[in-house]
Symmetry: C2
Subunit: 723 residues, 2 copies
């Protein structure tokens, strides 16, 4: 059966609709995040209270507070933990695939509805090679008998019952407790489904999965994608002989304290519970409180798991997609070793206000041996991200490599920097964080080199690919000092291509994605070059086949001409350039812009300490005028002679980078010689006299080079020239 | 300034509107409950994140789960505890008045928004004599300087700032932690406001208020109105030499663990934390988790408060307005004394499914000496509740007595039983529960005596007032056996009045409220009779003066004629009646109706154990046909001779208690002699032939005697006669 997909106007409506669908006996699911999930809360209480099997899949994302954020943490999921839904966490793309099935199978057996969550962006947007479960195996895990029972509980005139009544104080409490057996039974039923899942897929999961030294003394407890980074850190520390481990929470609700305790090694002395959420004013974050309670209660059991109850420390990490690295996990472990561990700490930021943050060693890395990492600087909407997703697919399908792709772009979307982080390797990839150093760095837009330290993350002997219209012989001298320094010191191999020219010549306009992808395969050595070219061409056929043979041929030709246009740059032995990076903002910018806005623009926002941030989300206005992006590779130039002074270009410019002005001739008194103007035309200005002037001015630093002004110009007065 | 009051379409809209009003610099507040509060959650995160002072006043009510309920518990408030709002609890009407001011004063100082809550119905609907705070004292507590600061943070074109932006992973986490100082400072600022409040009112509050033995070994921790019952229980147990106490939580968020620990006597060995909410699948209820965390963390402090950390037990009580009595508090204390205390218990119900419930001694009472308690059985919409509120007002204003009124009516509203619980006395009333035994019982509707054990709650020597149309000399023989038994055994003094006749004679129709109120004052002895009559008359002038002298005179006359119509009944020494209470439902009713519906109808729903309740709120249909309320004191009788067969009466009857039928004459074959019918009229039935019959039949057990059928009847064919 093909499921019916219905788009609702709001998540409140979606929750109501799914409540209704479930009551009619349908197998129904929904997907949401953040505020959307909050709107579902009222219906979630009802759905759970009525013991209705369903699964809500949630890419866990930040709830808006002092600011909105589209990125990932568990604040939305935690806001639902009182509803009576089971909460099941996934930490990777493979797990999200697996737990989705486990949740759907378990909910039918337990009648407790499930919220299955995985980290927004970090997991929801990661590209990863996974093992798919086919329909046949899915079927074996979901007994039709349970589906039949669900359907029989449906509201139908054929077997009428009344549900959704009002109750008074006399019976409500008793009725509320009548659902206890379902919650009591839920964890064991979930484990049973997990066991059956393991039997058909070979992937074994448990309510709580411990990894690390069997005699660990220090353990971190967490859920979601952070557990993968912790896993990597634990492996590294155990390799050094440290007695550490990570306990990964999968079934967070119902919280099975017994299973939790059994999963912990009895040797544990200290535990750091890491919550990816913040509840201001709470005695502690949610998972922390549960762990404290489970351990405290264990001391009163007949055979207590621990002779002496381990010390429990709570911490916050990764709010709104803040990086969470093995170095931060190590900081949590190190904290547990101190005489007075810091509790209710934060990690990943510098809190110089209430001093909650742990120091961490940014040099601590746990990237597995033999992995290959490639970093791409692209411009929003230039096709870089799409091409990289395609490259991952090629490598994932054509080799035995594990692959991972993660893409960072800010919420300015089109026209701002995109960063593509690609990992390949023989060993499974658990690195749920951005890598620090890459074997391959590509800069798809030459402007970035002027603004950022693009090569800072290049490893020694890495390959650097630059798209530039500078002749290969003159590329070296065109580089700023910092880039030359990296290249010389790290012995980088530098390749250049004028991708815009190749694209134009191939009839592809400004679409450089196929060309840059070809360069990557040609020089990275991830695949043998010929094999790689074949793969790209087959992929072009798959992608563009539907658009006709001409488009395919054009792309095929572009691949071939790319190789001819790709040049290695001879690197001298000494740094020669004296050109520094352009200042991020003008020196005249006000203090706030210098201290806060500028580091954010420079991609150094992570380094901003708490004291620099407004406490309530209030920012000064007028800061964007200091952010000159300079991203247009071509800008319009006004030609006063053909201009009909219609002013349309100024109206349509999406970035307000074109202004038209009518002014008295005296204003030109001190104008530079090359300042262009012309007598104003149009009957509205007749009364001013013919001496009045008209100018259209383009702000090159704000123009994105989108070309809409040229398209709209009735006189085609603006000739597009290189910037 | 007179505040502007705006009614919004939904609570989501109200929350958005208040968010906007606050951002414009207004002092703004809103009020809600239950699902309404859930709809406010998204805006609450924003309001708190932006550190915007406001207070939401919440009559805490159950969130709908397996069933909706309009009654009180903390499930709605707990659903907001992640938002960053401060949560401040009140336990009585006086406290709700006081904390409202404290919250408004504190929020301006702390910039943390407040949710001030008090128990829905138990506190929000209780009538209580309180000390009001005048505007002058309110003003001293709210410094204008803080108001000015709030206004200066407003969004205005005069001082533009940008607020409500989007943030990326680089800075969100830091910005989120930037509000920590405000939350850290909040508890001390609240205590400061409480101290200033005490200075101007004499009523001292603390973040946590302890009451009981200074060397208590067992303590209950709770918040809301239940703390009043616990206070009473603690006084009683301390009087017996038990070392117990109650810790009342006032500021629940931010949770000040230090203040919590300081408030606990160091002698405490065991603590029962009582939550008025249930979170299925949680490791424990919210307050319990906080207390466990606070105590566990205290062991790591430099000077730990406790040599040995007290044992903490969690329990649930009072869901959806379930009674919470000193006997239940005692059960919680007793549980702490057992070798293996039951944890995550329930109290107030009998859980025979998962066996969470504590036994409690229903005979344990802590009503203070010298109090007077009066119980009134009324019919929804008959004016009993209103009259009793008026009586409370009279007694509260005319005497030094503390007074309390609480009214129980089920969600059927008009036509079902209302119970008025009135307490008066010289000592302050902390009894936030229904009393078990009354000094005065009034039955405003004789039908109740046939259905319920009305006098079960009469104390020995109590006064019983009955409204009946039976002649005083024949009242005794008209009583069912169980009523006679109570009267004889407890030596009750029985007074009767035919209030409907007095009302009719006085021209007041069926409004018996003034008459019954007069009787109460005449025979209860709460006030001297003459003084009481004066008070009632003055109150009539106040209430009806606006409607003109005639109405006032009519009511005054009714008061006088009431005294003449009030008779004491001679009570024989022996029970003579053999008449039993009518069965609640017909013996032929199905098992579910016998086992579940019938006890609910009989007001014995509190005794239903968990096993009798459907686990998911699903009930069989067709149960209401077994609930025959028999509440009409007069019913319409059909007169076939004058009826024009328009059928309007059957259409308008709100309870579908009138049916009209056209049928073939053969159907009358076995009809009893007195069955009335007539040849059908109307052109639509011509073709049937004149022999076809027409009958209008009234179902006396379902009729409520509302009289709409008579009003609508074009032929006035239905003469209203006594039932």
């Amino acid at each position: 059966a093909v499921p019916e997909v219905v788009a609702m106007q709001s998540e409140a409506g979606a929750a109501g609709a799914i409540h209704g669908a479930l009551q009619s006996g349908a197998l129904a699911t929904t997907f949401t995040s953040s505020q959307g999930l909050l709107l579902m809360i009222p219906n979630m209480y009802k759905i759970a209270g009525e013991l209705t099997p369903t699964v809500f899949h949630v890419a866990a994302r930040t709830v808006a507070t002092h600011a909105l954020s589209i990125f990932g943490d568990h604040s939305d999921v935690m806001a639902t933990r009182a509803t009576g839904f089971a909460l099941l966490a996934s930490g990777s793309v493979q797990e999200a695939h697996d737990m989705a099935l486990i949740a759907h199978a378990a909910t039918l057996g337990t009648r407790v509805p499930f919220l299955h969550f995985f980290d927004g962006f970090r997991t929801s947007h990661e590209v990863m090679k996974i093992e798919e479960i086919d329909d046949e195996r899915i079927r074996t895990l979901v007994p039709l008998e349970l589906v039949r029972q669900h359907r029989e509980r449906a509201l139908t005139p054929d077997r009428p019952v009344v549900r959704g009544t009002a109750q008074n104080p006399d019976v409500f409490f008793q009725a509320r407790e009548a659902s206890n057996p379902f919650y009591d039974a839920c964890p064991a039923l979930v484990q049973d489904v997990m066991d059956r899942f393991a039997a058909i897929t070979g992937r074994a999961y448990h309510l709580f999965d411990y990894h690390g030294d069997p005699d660990a003394e220090r353990v971190v407890v967490l859920m979601g994608s952070g557990a993968e980074a912790a896993h990597e850190c634990v492996d590294a520390l155990c390799g050094r002989g440290e007695k550490v481990g990570v306990l990964r929470v999968r079934l967070y609700r119902p919280f099975d304290a017994r299973a939790f305790l059994s999963a912990l090694p009895p040797s544990v002395r200290a535990i750091a519970v890491l919550d990816r959420t913040k509840e201001p004013g709470a005695a502690g974050e949610p998972l922390y409180l549960d762990v404290v309670s489970a351990l405290t209660e264990s001391t009163h059991q007949d055979n207590p798991r621990f002779e002496r109850i381990p010390r429990v420390i709570g911490g916050r990490y990764g709010l709104s997609g803040k990086e969470f690295t093995p170095a931060m996990v190590k900081a949590a472990f190190d904290n547990l070793e101190t005489r007075k561990p810091k509790t209710h700490f934060t990690v990943g930021i510098r809190d110089d206000v209430t001093h909650t943050s742990l120091e961490y060693d940014t040099g601590f890395e746990t990237e597995p041996e033999g992995g290959f990492r490639a970093l791409f600087y692209g411009l929003g909407s230039d096709g870089t991200v799409g091409a990289n997703k395609n490259s991952i697919k090629i490598i994932g399908e054509e080799t035995s490599f594990h692959v991972q792709g993660y893409f960072v772009y800010d919420s300015k979307k089109a026209g701002s920097t995109t960063l593509s982080y690609l990992r390949f390797g023989e060993t499974p990839i658990r690195s749920t964080y951005l890598f620090q150093k890459a074997h391959f760095v590509a800069c798809h837009h030459p402007g970035f080199l002027e603004q950022q330290d693009v090569l800072e993350r290049a490893l020694d002997d890495a390959v650097f690919l630059l798209n530039t219209n500078v002749h290969p012989d003159r590329v070296w001298e065109s580089l700023p000092r910092v880039a030359q320094e990296h290249i010389v010191r790290k012995r980088l191999r530098v390749h250049v291509i004028d991708a815009f020219r190749v694209a134009r010549d191939a009839g592809m306009g400004t679409r450089i994605n196929t060309i840059m992808q070809t360069c990557f395969f040609a020089i990275s050595g991830v695949l043998p070059r010929d094999e790689a070219m074949d793969c790209i061409k087959r992929s072009i056929e798959k992608t563009y086949g539907i658009k006709g043979g001409a488009i395919v041929s054009m792309n095929h030709a572009a691949v071939d001409s790319t190789l001819a246009a790709l040049h290695e740059v001879h690197v001298p032995e000494r740094v020669e350039s004296r050109r520094e990076l352009a200042p991020v903002v003008d020196a005249r910018a006000p203090e706030f812009v210098q201290n806060v806005t500028a580091p954010i623009i420079a991609c150094l926002g992570d380094d901003l300490p708490v004291s620099r941030m407004p406490c309530d989300g209030t920012f000064p206005v007028g800061t964007s005028r200091w952010e000159k992006r300079n991203i247009a590779s071509e800008i319009p130039i006004w030609d006063p002679q053909v201009c009909i002074q219609c002013g349309k270009c100024a109206v349509v410019c999406p970035h307000a980078a074109i202004r038209s002005k009518v002014y008295a001739p005296e204003s030109l008194a001190n104008a530079p010689d090359h300042f262009q103007s012309r007598e104003v035309q149009g009957k509205d200005f007749k009364e001013l006299g013919e001496a009045w002037r008209y100018t259209i001015q383009v702000a090159p630093e704000d123009c994105t080079g989108c070309g809409i002004c040229v398209e709209i110009c009735p006189a085609r007065s603006k000739e597009v020239v290189r910037h």
